[in-house]
């Protein structure tokens, strides 16, 4: 075998290896999901969704945890969405290239890399203790809002960057002020991209466990929260609690709750991808 043949063979081997690695990752994902489905699908019925937590696995349901997750999602959205988009607009449209903008940029990039559990420690001291909110839904939502803020800001900036300059120039030429241009032209044109980023950030928030455990969310809550100041649990914490129990019945419950959680996460991701594709087509 000469050198050329050897090199061609190596080339083919790597190609097969590359496909193998890609399929390995995808098959493992499918295997995990399949396994969870087998373990948990039989456990899911209407009673599982609307039952309160219980010491007996066959009687336990996810109602309080699901309601907790919905509360968290709702409050986190109203806190993080306006602040994140406002900060993104400022950085992209107003901030001049100076020290402050450089610091802001480095800082946001760094915040995106801070482990989520650290946000939990911040929330524990600032929201739970100093502001006296206790281990409430509000304290949990504020903590998660800080966590997803960098994601929303970065997505907003990317979306605004993609808006063609001609749209802005046309608006200015008609005598619109800077804010009128942003509000009436730039934001509507970038809304698809911003929405994608916000939904992805929220889907991350729904799956977060560690920071909420640190903030003091409970594994066992007898009732669903009725106000932002109530104690709460969320789906991931309920799952974590069930995994840690020895009885087999709880493992089945955990798998069933995971199916619900994955459903929520994947649907949110699907919606995000849909908006992104639609928006990218519109921009072109």
């Amino acid at each position: 075998m000469n050198n050329i043949q050897k090199n061609r063979l190596k080339d083919q081997i790597f190609k097969v290896w590359g496909i193998g690695c890609t399929l390995f990752a995808l098959i493992l994902l499918a295997f995990f999901i399949g396994d969870i489905l087998i373990d948990g699908i039989m456990r899911i019925d209407w009673a599982f969704i609307i039952d309160l937590p219980s010491r007996k696995p066959e009687k336990a349901g996810i109602y309080t945890a699901l309601m907790g997750s919905i509360w968290i999602l709702f409050l986190t959205t109203i806190i993080a969405f306006p602040i994140g988009v406002a900060a993104g607009v400022y950085l992209e449209e107003y901030s001049k290239k100076n020290r402050l903008s450089a610091i802001l940029e480095i800082n946001i990039s760094n915040l995106a890399g801070v482990p989520s559990i650290i946000y939990g420690l911040l929330g524990l001291e600032v929201f739970v203790r100093i502001m006296g909110l206790g281990a409430s839904v509000l304290a949990g939502s504020l903590t998660l809002s800080l966590l997803i803020l960098p994601i929303i800001i970065v997505a907003t900036r990317e979306a605004i960057k993609a808006v063609p300059k001609s749209i802005k120039d046309a608006s200015y030429a008609l005598g619109a002020s800077k804010w009128q241009t942003i509000w009436n032209q730039v934001l509507p044109a970038s809304s698809g991209g911003i929405l994608t980023g916000v939904i992805l950030a929220l889907s991350r928030a729904v799956g977060e466990t560690a920071p909420l455990i640190v903030v003091g969310a409970l594994a066992y809550v007898p009732f669903a929260p009725e106000s932002p100041m109530d104690d709460f649990s969320v789906l991931p914490i309920q799952i974590f609690n069930w995994i840690s129990r020895p009885q087999h019945g709880f493992i089945e419950n955990a798998a069933a709750a995971i199916i619900i959680l994955l459903l929520i996460t994947f649907i949110m991701n699907g919606i995000a991808v849909y908006f992104r594709n639609k928006w990218q087509k519109k921009l072109k």
Binding site: F14, L26, V114, G120, R129, W179
Partner: protein, 292 residues
């Protein structure tokens, strides 16, 4: 009137942006204040050199090394899984795969990073550990091998996606020149494209390491909660993050030394990830300048 309105809007947008700086200051202050109080009761030399971490026992030791070794061991296993697979995927997708395949596979792979980590914890403990126990007799029910492996699967898309972006951004002229010299795709990939995209690839690896070090639920569920200074992947260990979870789940009195240990552990974690993130930011900035 219009000018005032514009000014008010600009200032309120600026305030939103400044909140991000307040978050960083908040994190640093909270960690530093609690850690300073912690170190007024525990000597920093003990913290850095003692080989035992037992703040919740009667015989108290405050050595961070066992938690640090647990964190680094699980992260090392994760990177050993994610790096070869993630990098091979990125090179395959960017240099070999048809465009349509790439477009379908990339979002599917990114789904791996969208799965909540508590779900991976379930896989590691309930699915992967029993399988590994059949291959490795004597493998403990909680171990860093299974937790690290599953964590590696989770961070594959961090490496594959960011590296693929970097490889894809390499100008085609470089490839064509290489092909023109008679090089195969493999030779072109490893001798031309990968070196040209090296900074982007390094950034992706650093981000993946930082993600692994800060990962909490997988290790809290599957690696055990026994701080142990060891490199043995078959026994239970505890990571910094898992310790914080363990204390948060228990009843520890606010203001006690036990309570402050989570902040001392937290600041260690923060410093580690901060250094890695700053490094990746620096490399990324340099790389942008080179290509734009």
């Amino acid at each position: 009137m219009r000018k005032i309105k514009e000014l008010v809007i600009e200032k309120s947008l600026l305030t939103s942006a400044l909140i991000t700086i307040a978050i960083t200051i908040g994190i640093v202050l909270v960690l530093a204040i609690e850690a300073v109080q912690f170190f007024s009761e525990v000597s920093i030399i003990d913290f850095l050199t003692d080989t035992q971490w037992t703040p919740l026992f009667t015989d108290k030791h405050y050595g961070i090394l066992p938690l640090l070794s647990g964190t680094l061991l699980t992260s090392f296993i994760a990177i050993s899984v994610a790096l070869p697979i993630g990098l091979s995927i990125s090179i395959y997708l960017s240099e070999y795969a048809p465009k349509s395949f790439r477009k379908t596979v990339k979002p599917l792979l990114e789904l791996l990073a969208a799965v909540p980590t508590v779900v991976y914890g379930f896989f590691a403990l309930i699915v992967v550990t029993p399988i590994l126990q059949q291959i490795i007799p004597g493998l403990s029910g909680f171990n860093s091998l299974s937790a690290g492996f599953v964590m590696g699967i989770m961070i594959i898309p961090y490496i594959s996606s960011i590296s693929e972006d970097a490889l894809h951004a390499v100008p085609n002229a470089l490839r064509e020149a290489s092909f023109g010299m008679g090089a195969t795709k493999l030779q072109t990939a490893f001798k031309v494209v990968v070196p040209a995209a090296s900074s982007g690839i390094i950034v992706s690896i650093i981000l993946a390491i930082s993600r692994a070090i800060g990962e909490t639920m997988i290790v809290a569920i599957a690696a055990g909660q026994q701080p142990r200074l060891t490199l043995d992947p078959t026994v239970p260990v505890e990571t910094i993050t898992a310790y914080i979870v363990q204390v948060s789940l228990g009843d520890v009195e606010h203001g006690s030394v036990e309570y402050r240990t989570i902040f001392a552990a937290g600041i260690t974690l923060f410093v580690l990830t901060f250094l890695l993130n700053t490094l990746s930011y620096r490399i990324r900035k340099k790389y942008q300048e080179r290509y734009e």
